[in-house]
């Protein structure tokens, strides 16, 4: 019973962190959701089936919320931010569909991954469709500067994914090399989603750079905490099983830290499990124990806090506003997911 209460409290605390943002953008978000639904429609039934399986599976829609809030915080009066936010979510969804194929993942957001239900081919092609739709929607907004930022993100994300593929299962990966991948595959879309807000509002270089920095560092926080949750999380909350990264041999920061701080014997364990993918009963528990012994999980959270502070400072020059307060609270929300 005590545990159940603790979990409820946890959830309340987390909810408080993102609630102000959700409330501020609720009206715009409804328009985003309508646009998303209308643009996954197709005579080809497989497209809405696959797309909606993932889109309606209850992601937080953090990235489009960043676009909506950033645009309004910068005083943008129009409606283009709705379309760009939908485009950002489509880009993200396309990436997830392709990621699941690349990683051979079986679960996504607590449901079977689309590839398990419709196959790899459908996941690849519906991902391509969503990427095409993303660009169509975003082109309609008519901002070449926003398009440049978002198409750049699309190329950087894919480059980061290839880099990760090439470094897959390589325990020699350094913290810097791993962060480079996270910058590309996660932070770049957070950065672009945030930067298009001031772009739409016609703000100058400094404000664009500030939002870009906020988004990029928030993306780093988000990914590092995700890495922690994969070893220390609660499956029901996470939508994937604890240990998925481990079983897939994915290099993440807790693993990099534990490996580099470990003894020769421990490194032999990591090499067997991650590099040769020879995973035996009890290995996941052993991995978590080694991470705890070397403070690898706690220190990953500390690294995330560092980036969270950079994100907060990026928005410091802006006058106080409900939108600013909400965006700052999201930084805390992302970190507190770890607890």
């Amino acid at each position: 019973m005590g545990v159940v209460v603790a979990l409820d409290e946890d959830k309340r605390r987390r909810a408080a962190g993102i609630a102000p943002l959700v409330a501020l953008v609720a009206g715009d978000m409804e328009k985003v959701n309508r646009l998303i639904l209308s643009r996954t429609g197709s005579e080809v039934a497989l497209i809405p089936e696959v797309a909606n399986h993932l889109i309606s599976s209850g992601g937080k829609r953090l990235r489009p919320m960043l676009t909506l809030a950033a645009a309004r915080m910068c005083g943008y009066p129009g409606e283009g931010h709705v379309a760009l936010a939908a485009g950002v979510e489509f880009m993200h969804t396309a990436t997830l569909l392709h990621d699941d194929v690349v990683d051979d993942s079986s679960m996504r957001r607590g449901k079977l991954a689309a590839r398990m239900l419709w196959g790899n081919s459908a996941s690849v092609l519906v991902g391509d469709f969503l990427l095409g739709q993303a660009f169509k929607i975003m082109v309609d907004v008519g901002s070449l500067d926003a398009l440049a930022v978002l198409s750049d993100a699309a190329a950087v994300i894919a480059e980061g994914e290839v880099r990760q593929l090439a470094a897959a299962n390589d325990m020699a990966t350094t913290e810097d090399e791993y962060l480079y991948v996270v910058h590309a595959k996660t932070a770049s879309l957070f950065a672009a989603a945030s930067e298009v807000g001031p772009i739409l509002a016609g703000r100058g270089r400094d404000e664009r750079a500030a939002f870009r920095s906020y988004g990029s560092n928030l993306g780093l926080v988000f990914q590092l905490i995700d890495d922690v949750l994969d070893y220390a999380g609660d499956s029901s909350d996470l939508g994937k099983r604890v240990g998925d990264d481990f079983r897939e041999g994915k290099i993440t920061l807790p693993l990099v830290l534990a490996y580099r701080r470990g003894s020769d014997g421990e490194r032999a364990f990591w090499q067997r499990a991650i590099e040769t993918r020879d995973i035996r009963d009890g290995d996941l528990e052993q991995a978590v124990a080694l991470m705890k012994r070397h403070n690898a999980l706690d220190d990953t959270v500390r690294r995330a806090r560092h980036f969270g502070e950079v994100a907060r400072d990026a928005l410091a020059p802006f006058p106080d506003s409900p939108h600013k307060a909400a965006l700052l609270a999201v930084v805390d929300f992302c970190i507190e997911r770890a607890y």
Copy 2:
């Protein structure tokens, strides 16, 4: 010996068909090739390896040539057509990488498909990278109208691929349903590649529609002849083995015609081979024999001629020019590939 001479003559005749276009755009095409090479560069070595494997494998680059010639024919004096042409080729290359994964293909343009050398994951991700680069390059040109046409094509292509996937191995596919797929997955990029020429040149609705129609119908010709060559071609010339479509259970027009014109016994043969994929020794020869019996190959070429005439008429209102003559000759070139 006689056969060898005949082949040489054949090749000369075909070469004459595309030679004027190649000559007219040679200078611009060199710039396109330089841009393509510079934009596949990446610190991540896997990206240029996979991309250049396909890009340097001697495709005809027909699509970018359409963009270059259409822009110049419409009097465009700038350099943006070079970037759009490179973007079109990147979009096409991304599609090929993903297609090979979806179709489990082993060969492409006479070489091993990228997926056989680097795996499906690399093919998916490098395809995504090229698509991202395509949009980056095209955004830099600064034409929102051109971007709208090209992003629309990206979405339509993917939709067509999903439709084809959903209809895979279904012998009940009608000629109209099949043509709908070809419109989407092949003709739409030919159409977009052509239409962006007059767009860059600031031409109006009528001229845009004319080039769109030319490109779209040329795309239909191209695909239908490709379908014929898969049953009647010469492997060394085609870059894939004769019978690949048959072995993959791919629905193409010669197969649709032969099936619908066949006896009950023949339809049982097609259903076994295509729908249940139970392919036995001698089946390919039997398939070709049935196609010949029902004139399915000849009539597919006749259908292609029909679309070729529509393509030619689309450009009829334009005054004579070397570019117009070259674009008309390409229609003949595409049809004559069948002989």
